[in-house]
Amino acid sequence: MIRWKAVVPGLVTLGLVVVFAVFFLDWTVEWAIEKAGTTMNGARVDLAGVDISWRHASVTLRGLQVTDKAAPMTNALEVETMSFQLAVKPLTWMKVIIEDGEILGVRTGTARKSSGAIAVKTAESVPPKGDGPTAVATAKKPGLPTADLKAQFDPKKIRAEDLESYKMAMGEQARVTAAADQWERTADGINVDGKVAEAKAFLDRVKATSYSGAAGAKKAAEDAKEAQKLQGELRQLTATVNAAKTSITAETAAAKGTVARINEQKKKDVDAELARFGISSLSTEGITRAVIGETWFGRIESGLYWFRKIRAMMPAKKAPPPVRDGRNIEFKFHYKWPAFWLKKARISGVTAGENPIEYKGALTDVTSDPKLVGKPIMLVIDGGKGSRSLHLKAVLDYTQDTARETVSFRYSGMDLAGTQLGDLGGPVSIKDGKGTLKVDLSTRGEAVAGTVDFNAQPVRLANDMSPEQVKQKMMAVLHDTLTGLKRLQVTIVLGGKLTSPSFKVKSSMDSAFKSAVGAVAQRETAAARAAAQARVNGLVDGERDKIASAITGKSGKALGKLGVKASSLSSAQAQVDKVIEDLKKKGTSSAAVGGAGGALKGLKRK
């Protein structure tokens, strides 16, 4: 029954599996972490090594480097060692419970020896906008015009095929012209003349008929019946004419609406074209945004992106799994263990920069099932050195159906020298100064709210400009205002949704810019807008007017024809009504047809 000679090879195979687990599992785990991390981050995640100790049930990850996707030669995060002590008993139930952990040597913004960029995905596989941590950070948004507006903005560069209003006019032209042609055909297609002629012939015959005696009364009753039938047909035709009139009137109104929409779109096109040349940002808020730089807004959005990413990992009410995967039926379990639970890990690290601050803190209750654990994920960090201090508290609460996150961050005494900001004709940076950063952010479901306060005093800003730019009046004024600032206070108010946050910027620079460059900017913007408007009008109005003339011309003609038809039908109906009345009298009284003849005389004249 048992093949004894196969037992030995079987045992050898089993032994090989054990040897692999002991000697190569470290490498396999390292490879798996690097691969999964890289996929998730969108840039390389490297590990120097993994040590798994079977005897102590511990895992140690060494030299973790997470590349900053926007700057592949920089690590967004670097950790020297991460040690985790696993509880043995839960492992026998497939549960990974980390009782204690240490995350040491955390640093941000460190230099990499080699690029951490990964192969660019094809256009088809690029995630939609806002679906990557640095999607906004890397997206090129129009900055301030770096040269003289007159030289930079040439209205002739606005092309008809780029304008939505032009495309709309061209698309609607064919549709409206076809509809207008149909109106005339509809009006012509209703045959009123035939029925009116039939009515006239009938009335003539009645006039010529003598309704006397019993035979006359019978004849009058028969003709009255025929008149009523004719009257019904005339009424039906009148209803058709009226319906066509109503329909054409409604369609004309709709077509006129199209013209109005084209006019609205023209305004949007002018705005879009001005924005394309960076002219729309010539407001004080636009200037402030340019000074701060889109990268900083991108960093806030990156933070929100990670909230979304973490939320996606949490168990949710999902659709039933595919049949091939089956369904897990859960039973009452005498331990309160989720599949994964990092109960507590101590954290220590240093901030980026030349004069770093050391900080310490703890990360608690990171779990695959927060509802079971009943506690939010919490990260608390505190640090300080001399007059400088750092505090971070992040609470990610997924214990309820509605996810909530709150982040409170304070960094005072920040050394700002060398901090790169945005671009105002040339790069803006902080020459020297000290500052405080306060971030209060909260989310509830999809809604985001919060403020980012940045206060630097004393501060000196630098704005590098080329000699050509210095010659331009407005750029020179902006440069002087910026470099003359002694204090910089910026408040970014966050709102909107996690997937599409909105930013409102208030700054101490606002008033300075308003008084210094407001008049210049307004004048130049107005001139550019007028030029753009004239160009858009020239490109679109001709096509739009074709639609308008088709509507007015064809609808007028069709409605005129229908009006004549309605009037002729109405007149015939009135005469038939009179005849019906006369014939009814004849039928009952057997009187001479003089009365009817009187009415018919009038008909004859018509």
Binding site: M1, V7, P9, G10, M94, G326, R327, F331
Partner: protein
């Protein structure tokens, strides 16, 4: 080439190299592996039995491949059986006990598909064994002689690969 080699080997086994019992036994075990999700822990035991027991290993591998497809088609039925068993009030205490016993959860017994397909395949394994044993006997008595006259079989058996295989197989 590999498939042809495998086919030649299986034809040899089917024709004379192994007993009907060994072929049917191997195929019945391969049937269980094929019908259930491969990554289940119980398949390690079944694979061990396939190696250790005096059954034909090649037949087992072939059955695994063939019945993986059949198992895929039977997934909806397996799922229903698994769900019915796991939600049966009379068995609740048993499942809860197993769920709370160390190591047992590694078998993923609480998965509807794993349990359903395992129960279904184990129940069918015995009939499959007897049907296949009878079929092999019938094949050798009635069909083999006819098949051996087919041109395609002659072509295969005359091929260099087959001759080389025969030489090495002894």
């Amino acid at each position: 080439m590999l498939a042809l080699k495998f086919l030649i080997k299986f034809l040899g086994i089917l024709n004379r190299d192994a007993t009907p019992k060994a072929i049917a036994g191997g195929m019945a075990l391969g049937f269980i592996i094929g019908m259930t999700p491969f990554t289940s822990l119980h398949n390690l035991i079944v694979l061990g039995l396939l190696i250790v027991l005096r059954v034909n290993f090649t037949s087992g591998m072939l059955a695994w491949g063939v019945f993986s497809g059949v198992g895929y088609l039977l997934d909806p039925l397996s799922n229903k059986i698994g769900y019915w068993l796991l939600t049966l009030p009379g068995l609740k205490a048993t499942w809860t006990g197993m769920y709370n016993t160390p190591v047992i959860p590694w078998t993923k017994f609480n998965n509807t598909l794993t349990l359903g397909s395992l129960v279904l395949s184990v129940l069918l394994a015995l009939p499959v064994y007897f049907i296949l044993k009878w079929a092999v006997v019938q094949y050798r008595v009635k069909v083999m002689a006819v098949i051996m006259k087919w041109k395609i079989v002659h072509l295969i058996m005359g091929s260099r690969l087959f001759l080389t295989y025969q030489r090495f197989a002894g």
